[in-house]
Symmetry: C2
Subunit: 331 residues, 2 copies
């Protein structure tokens, strides 16, 4: 039986902020699985800031499904390792259904936890925060930590790990609602609404003992303000620079405070999540424990239906999400 | 017998480029050494880019001798460890003569080498290049290296160490004369006159295999151009950012290419020479060997007389020096 399904294609490489017209929802048909194949129905798609650079740097081809992660359910299988009803995590891109030979699929057993957690706190998002802060950032117990975009998916995990490690933790976010969540629900020591005030002055006031680790998600004005506040031997793990993704090159905010790195012997270091693959077991053990004992909280911002995927992606850059941005495809 | 001597004071904290009027040559008198003291006549003073930040950040007090290193001769001694005629290195600042109780003085035995080498290739300047490139920069044999301000005192040592380590070595400098020296005397593989051309395009052309280590002396346009050329896991030891010293804050060139650090997992790290004190013996052994076998060349730009010290310092920022800037006080 052939089924029809929809997928999201990039049809134009955006220069600045992506527009809905840069994407198309395309209908295709899929045959029944052949021998050794299985058919997956995606239930949730992950929407991540890291998708943005790929739209313009050549990694995301036009007229093919947007690259991205998803969680789905096996609806038909002629593959020995997968049975109907299995929950699987994939990197097959933004589509409702796909055929697979099983390669690159991971079976999930979420147990009592919501399956979507494997797309954020228990997935690559969480591992990014965990490895970036503890390995790249070499976080020590009790240090002074600043996390930008702290209400984002990665930032909210990083900020909470810092708190769990007894750090004085400052977070920035772009709305009063996000700041309330950070302060009252996540228990950060200080929060900065970077759209309402003077970031540089506010950060100075929020960091009376300086900053030992700045977990960098934003770049631009945030990095400009953080560098003069860094303590000697401070570390800046660079996870992302979301402020620059839609204003490339000369249009983005230039950083003029880098000379602070010299006398304070600051290390700034870019990292990518795959570096931390070998610590996934420890990560899952720690994170599951923290979720269960209530020290690791999370939030999801959910769009419904594949046609909302472009809007969800654009929403990351307009600050729409608290926590993880997801697109729900199926109940 | 009281002698009169001159010293150079800072009398005004400069905001932009230092002016001769920011300094004063002041005459003072010095008594004969008392018991346990010695009198030193400075022969050469070291003029270094790192002096510039101190003029504005509060480290250099007004109406006191400019902080700085010198090499001199003991002309009278009532100290058990020093005899008349001893050659001594000091950090007593810009003055012709000074009394000392011996603390902070190092006796030098230059042997067959010119004594001034202990102010550059065999001194802190050389150790800065050596440690910054080999330790902070984690240089590996045969890598691709870019050194900015490669005709400067630190840069020329760093570039030659890179060549000794069989690296493809690119240097930038601000005049045809300096570029000729780098190419023809020091044997660099590629040179860029950053005042004559398009730095970004020229660096791209000069680095066909990218850059593994960028030894950063300049900041600004140089860093802006280097970041997109960095290879995966590249390192940027940050020794100085001379382009920013006289144009602080918002007036300096802002860096917009830092997001290149993320996917290429670049490390940028500030360092200070005292980190490398415990490797001084190995440094002196290596460097002496390289000087003697002709692989480490050097150049000195010498001003005569203490009253030229302000001019010499300003000359560092107008690009006057090839190699080490010195002020000669005595034959």
């Amino acid at each position: 039986m052939t089924i029809s399904q929809r997928e999201v294609h990039l049809i134009n490489h955006p220069d600045g902020m992506p527009q809905p017209s840069d994407f198309a929802v395309v209908e295709t048909s899929i045959d029944d699985p052949g021998e050794g194949q299985l058919l997956v129905r995606n239930d949730y798609m992950s929407v991540d800031p890291a998708m943005r650079p790929r739209l313009s740097n050549g990694q995301q081809a036009l007229n093919t499904p947007m690259m991205g992660g998803a969680i789905g359910t096996v609806v038909a299988s002629r593959h020995a390792d997968f049975a109907e009803g299995d929950c699987v995590q994939s990197q097959q891109g933004f589509c409702e259904y796909f055929l697979s030979d099983g390669k690159g699929l991971a079976k999930l057993d979420p147990g009592e936890l919501p399956v979507t957690l494997f797309m954020h706190v228990l997935g690559g998002t969480g591992l990014t925060a965990y490895g970036g802060l503890l390995v790249t950032g070499e976080l020590q117990d009790g240090e002074n930590v600043f996390v930008s975009a702290a209400a984002g998916a990665v930032g909210s995990v990083a900020a909470q790990i810092a708190k769990i490690k007894n750090c004085y933790t400052i977070g920035s976010a772009g709305s009063a609602e996000k700041c309330d969540w950070l302060k009252n629900d996540l228990g950060l020591d200080a929060v900065i609404n970077y759209k309402d005030g003077n970031l540089r002055q506010d950060l100075k006031a929020a960091a009376p003992k300086g900053i030992d680790v700045y977990f960098e998600n934003v770049g631009g004005d945030h990095l400009e303000a953080a560098l003069p506040r860094m303590n000697p031997l401070g570390r800046i793990p660079v996870c992302g620079m979301i402020s620059a993704y839609n204003t490339p090159g000369a249009r983005s905010t230039g950083i003029t405070t880098l000379s602070n790195m010299i006398y304070n012997r600051i290390t700034m270091k870019g990292f990518v999540v795959y570096e931390f693959n070998d610590m996934r077991e420890q990560f899952l053990s720690d994170m599951t424990g923290w979720i269960k004992d209530g020290r690791m909280k999370y939030s999801e911002t959910i769009h419904n239906g594949i046609s909302e995927a472009p809007e969800a992606l654009i929403g990351l850059f307009t600050g729409e999400n608290i926590g993880k941005m997801l697109v729900k495809l199926s109940d």
